[in-house]
Symmetry: C2
Subunit: 730 residues, 2 copies
């Protein structure tokens, strides 16, 4: 007659801003499996249901891939259209971007931009004049106006409907995947508002990328589809497996790099990543990449594949420190007046960006141009070299040439663009709109790399008798490729900001499609990581997590101090003793008082206060619910009833004593324990690998204290001379 | 005056065929780090030493990469030369293979094989006649003779010098990486003999590959360089990090696939793979790949990159089951007479292989030809199509054509080769010579795939009005590429044998160099895995591990039974009580008797036999050494001395009592404990994730029993209705 045999509500859920217990989630999932496999032997219908359940993981992956790919495609198309809207409209169809407009109007390639009659700039449309200072000023004015409108809309939508939609979301997703609960962070509203405001923010021309937020969007999709299957919606551990795969799909569509996406999820974002998830993530990432390709075949979001010969680009290593100095201080800026801040920054960005052709266009177009090699047909200003008279050689074998005036003016513009980008990106990041860091960091790196590349190229051309050039650079040969320098610079800068390593190299390699460049890319990644680590061990996401005080136990932090569990456990010497329950001598009233007076998440249960031998652990939440339910449903349970956790009824002293309340069902009989002599490095390892929430400390069978995840994190912060109070959640 | 303060020998080492304790290794490494970082503040010399120590990981990786790449290059060149030696010699230089001979002799490409005067077949050299039945028989005879000689040498060398050099070595490496000790398995002799016999075995023409053994060779290199640095040689846990990276380097050189190698190591081989190792593995894999490329630029081990258009190859899925049936029974054959067995199999292989051109050549050449698309310049028999009169179109856009007589005869030969390969591979695997399964499996899959591909192609050509072809196959178009079918078939077959998933796709994609083929490859990998899983959950390596009774706790096996720790722990109810020591009432003699009478690896220490409260765990090995040392060095320690593990001396009852022996230093004060109610799924999880060797079971602070890794594995085997006695080691 144990009323706890029936399921009762709210058991197994967690409160907002709390940490989940991975072991518990896993064992709940195993229970589920066991029940299903027993049931499946009963009837064909149950067998089919169990097969559906087994397949639901793949179905969820398919759905996530398809929705993520679709959303990314829609975002791409919308951003293209709205970015171009700042400059003009397509007369043949208002919803065409310039590229589509010129493409459909007269079958020319989109390089011939100026010969596109269907596309009209605002000044031309409104006044009929396309040239002259008046038209320029009008275009300038409208460009800034559109930008302000877009960013105002973005920040307002975020403020009013979904405050969680701001930023890139990656730090929070890392924290959530490590087992933290932030309700609504991956909700439907966040998904909708983030998608819309991302388009607005990117179109406004602010120095931000859509790649990071796409990971957030993908995780929202993942969470959405989790709610379709009770296997995932009711188990926070299983849900996180799906979210890990969704993050891979997000990176996959952001860069068109499915393998890189999986590795990013593995290396950078995920916490618990079983091999089964690896395989499913790969599936989701592929589906997403192909869905995106089906929707947006122009695909200007994925940078153009380019084929350059591989030379020795090791000089880039010198560039890295300088770039890193620029990008390391981004986390400190937090505006108090978000709307005003966004408007001001957008205004400044738009006003300063318009005159410079390298900042006016979209950042991914800029990167694509910087990566490009100067073929014979290239019309870009960056390729304005003085040509040799004999141009009869094949297109892809052009020797080094002296730079023309176009290249020199481009260099000046690039230098200005570099300073502008660095400064404005620092101010942009941290604003209350969806904003990613990947593309701006890559742009900074690519500009710097291209400048260095052109400089080296011209030096090699003019001084090919210098010792360093002598061996690999004969006159008339094509020996320095500035595009490659840009690519390596982009990788170095991105690596410095995020501290990605393998996934960075793989993403860059999938972006550019050539295994030959893997060596310079890897050199850049490793150099930038070392240089950046010299400034501080944490990447931008970890800094952000710390800033927010989330309880994130980084797998990479090595704990090397000599402290023991006894130094970390509560209660400390000066504190009152641990709040415990005894197995058969506490009354309902005592329990209720304990619950009221403390805010602990659970209480150890001991044999008696004298022996202090541990028998189990009971969750506060379950205790509250159980007592409340018992008081309502079970006769005879009053304040003076004894609560007992043993198998057998305690001996009732007198007949008039009230009926005792048996609560063994909610007692966790296998709480995790360590001895007080356990080194903290082992404790940290156990917390990390098993995903514990708390751990009891004993000495020769006696309960001494408790260590929670928060205690561990605070201790680690203290050991690293940081403020332990910065860890705010448990 | 504690003599145990000095280090004493043999502490921290393990016996052969025993399992290491990962937590202990990790904490020993942290101690080392701590000491070095304290010392480094003392003097500049110590600072430099500490920096060298920090960099030694990268140095080891560099050395491993370079040696692995060099060995792979040497093996490639030697195999080329010796394979060709079976057919003839190069007159200009005896050490040239046919390819090098013809390449250097007259600057033609190596397609013009027959126009190479410097290369002479044996019959031509010995009799002057290159044609006619006499020459054919002589060539045939010498071919078989050479093959027998090579394989005899190989098997004899393995038998006499290094029995561990046989097989692919991957199952043992998996076991070693999971924490098992097999002394000499990765030793210098094994390295030397495996390298030499691998060349002999591959050259003998047996149906085996060099890819798996290359992983073993790479791990031997890793072990070799570990011995240079005490950081790695004295810590079995750190050593395994290096070995994981070495395995990645091995796959990297085997397939020319650095990313695939890292993923293979992560997915298939490694057990404990921290992120730091991921990055270092990538470095080692890259260095190895580039060293190999520098040594052997011809690189016929890496299959030729080929560029075919992507069509719908989904029909391959049907092929998979049939292939898998053929490759699933390979583990059962174990010859009693290894030398004779090898000779017989080699003889049969050579006799049957010579007449068929598809089995005579080396397997990787065969795969390369099967993967190839039929361009206009292709001279292979497989490309003998009836040409259209208008051949003026570009080389790479050839429409579907009817097959010529060459293709039909090639089909017959391929069908025979398929049967031959399947049968002979089953008999070859398990012989006592170095032998890999990758290439033979791929060959079987590629042959089957090519046959199906040609069949579909001809069906599509002759019946392009059928519904299935109608949509994507107009007349005159190039719509079916048999080479792609071969590639997908190879991937499917390899996936079925090894159960690799992501790493398989990445390796195939790096082999063939085209992101477009990722979808059919992935479909093949996923189908073959599902089909193979229907026959049995284990891949060939896991089966092999089980066959040998190694204690391998697979991360992929889900434990879903409802047993508790109390069901698994020893002692069982019928058994004598657990052998324990008390903290201050056991004498030296008692301890020595206990050590002599039992073969346990360690003993729990309790407060007293009455209370049974656990205070720690002491290793048998350390106890033995400590008592032996104490008897020699410490005065007054006799058989009746009391051994105590407490902080303070026990009270000596009378003055004449012998001096007690303090052994607290060797007592592990933080043994791992679980309660008897802990579900076994949690226990399995803890063993897996923390790499435990044993775990003590308690109930309310009382010691009840012990669970070792062997107990866990035996319990798992029992639950899966397997023989628990098959787990032989602890």
């Amino acid at each position: 007659m144990d009323f706890l045999d029936e399921p009762f509500p709210d058991v197994g859920t967690y409160e907002d801003f709390h940490t989940i217990d991975w072991l518990r989630e896993k064992s709940r999932d195993t229970d589920r499996h066991r029940k299903i496999s027993i049931k499946s032997k009963e009837s064909y219908w149950e067998l089919i249901k169990s097969l559906l359940d087994a397949w639901s993981g793949w179905v969820v992956m398919l759905l996530i891939g398809m929705l993520t790919g679709t959303l990314a495609g829609v975002i791409d198309l919308a951003v293209d259209w709205m970015t171009d809207l700042k400059e003009g409209v397509c007369l043949s169809a208002l919803y065409y971007s310039r590229e589509q407009c010129c493409w459909t109007s007269n079958e020319t390639t989109f390089d011939d931009r100026d010969k596109c009659p269907q596309w009209q700039k605002w000044a031309e449309l409104m006044t009929g004049h396309s040239e002259g200072p008046g038209a320029y000023v009008l275009n300038y004015f409208l460009y800034v106006l559109w930008a302000l409108l877009f960013s105002f809309l973005a920040v307002s939508l975020v403020r009013v409907f979904a405050p969680y939609a701001c930023g890139s979301g990656i730090p929070e997703i890392k924290t959530i995947l490590s087992g933290f609960i932030i309700r609504g962070y991956l909700g439907k509203w966040t998904l909708l508002i983030k998608t819309v405001t991302l388009v607005l923010a990117v179109s406004s021309g602010l120095s931000l990328g859509k790649e990071g937020p796409l990971v957030h969007v993908a995780c929202c999709c993942g969470n959405l589809f989790c709610s379709l299957f009770s296997k995932y919606s009711k188990n926070e551990g299983k849900r996180r497996e799906v979210l890990s795969a969704a993050a891979a799909a997000g990176v996959s569509v952001a860069f068109g790099a499915p393998i890189g996406g999986v590795l990013f999820s593995l290396e950078e974002v995920s916490y618990y990543f079983p091999l089964k998830t690896l395989w499913r993530s790969f599936f989701a990432a592929l589906v997403a990449a192909f869905t995106l390709r089906a929707i947006n075949p122009f695909g200007n979001s994925r940078l153009v594949l380019f084929y350059v010969e591989y030379h020795t680009p090791w000089y880039m290593a010198e560039l890295v420190p300088f770039i890193l100095l620029g990008v390391r201080r981004k986390t400190t800026l937090l505006g108090k007046y978000p709307v005003l801040e966004v408007i001001v920054i957008t205004g400044i960005t738009a006003v300063l960006a318009f005159p410079n052709p390298y900042t006016r266009r979209s950042t991914s177009e800029l990167i694509s141009e910087l990566f490009n090699d100067c073929g014979a047909l290239e019309s870009s200003q960056l390729c304005d070299y003085v040509n040799n008279p004999n141009m009869s050689r094949p297109v892809d074998d052009i020797p080094d040439r002296p730079a023309g005036p176009g290249v020199y003016s481009a260099l000046w513009q690039l230098a200005l663009a570099l300073i502008f980008k660095i400064v404005i990106t620092i101010f942009t990041f941290g604003m209350k709109i969806p904003s990613g860091l990947f593309i701006p960091s890559m742009a900074v790196g690519a500009i710097a790399g291209r400048i260095v590349g052109i400089a080296v190229e011209q030096m090699a051309y003019h001084h090919h008798d210098w010792i360093i050039f002598k061996n690999w650079c004969r006159p008339g040969a094509d020996c320095v490729t500035p595009g490659l320098y840009a690519m390596v610079g982009a990788a170095a800068c991105l690596g410095g900001v995020t501290r990605m390593t393998v996934s960075l190299v793989v993403i860059m390699f999938e972006l550019t499609g050539g295994l030959e460049y893997i060596v310079p890319l890897m050199a850049a990644a490793v150099t930038s990581k070392w240089v950046a680590d010299a400034f501080g061990k944490e990447g931008i996401y970890e800094s952000h997590i710390q800033l927010n005080g989330y309880p994130y136990l980084d797998v990479r932090d090595e704990f090397t101090h000599r402290t023991l569990a006894t130094d970390v456990m509560r209660p400390r010497r000066s504190e009152p003793p641990l709040a415990v329950l005894t197995q058969d001598s506490t009354t309902v009233e005592d329990v209720e008082t304990l619950i009221k007076d403390t805010d602990y998440n659970g209480f150890p249960v001991v044999v008696s206060r004298e022996s202090e031998r541990l028998i189990g652990f009971v969750q506060r939440r379950e205790l509250t619910v159980a007592i409340k339910t018992a008081r309502q449903k079970q006769d005879g349970v009053v304040s003076s009833s004894v609560v007992y956790f043993t198998e057998d009824n305690p001996q009732v002293a007198e007949a008039c004593d009230p009926q005792p309340l048996k609560l063994r069902r909610i007692l966790n009989l296998s709480p995790f324990t360590v001895t007080d002599h356990t080194p903290m490095e082992t404790v940290v390892d156990i917390f990390r690998k098993l995903g514990l929430r708390q751990c009891l400390v004993t000495r020769s069978g006696r309960l001494l204290g408790i260590i929670t995840k928060k205690d561990v994190l605070r201790h680690m912060a203290q050991m690293m001379n940081q403020d332990p109070e910065s860890i705010m959640f448990n």
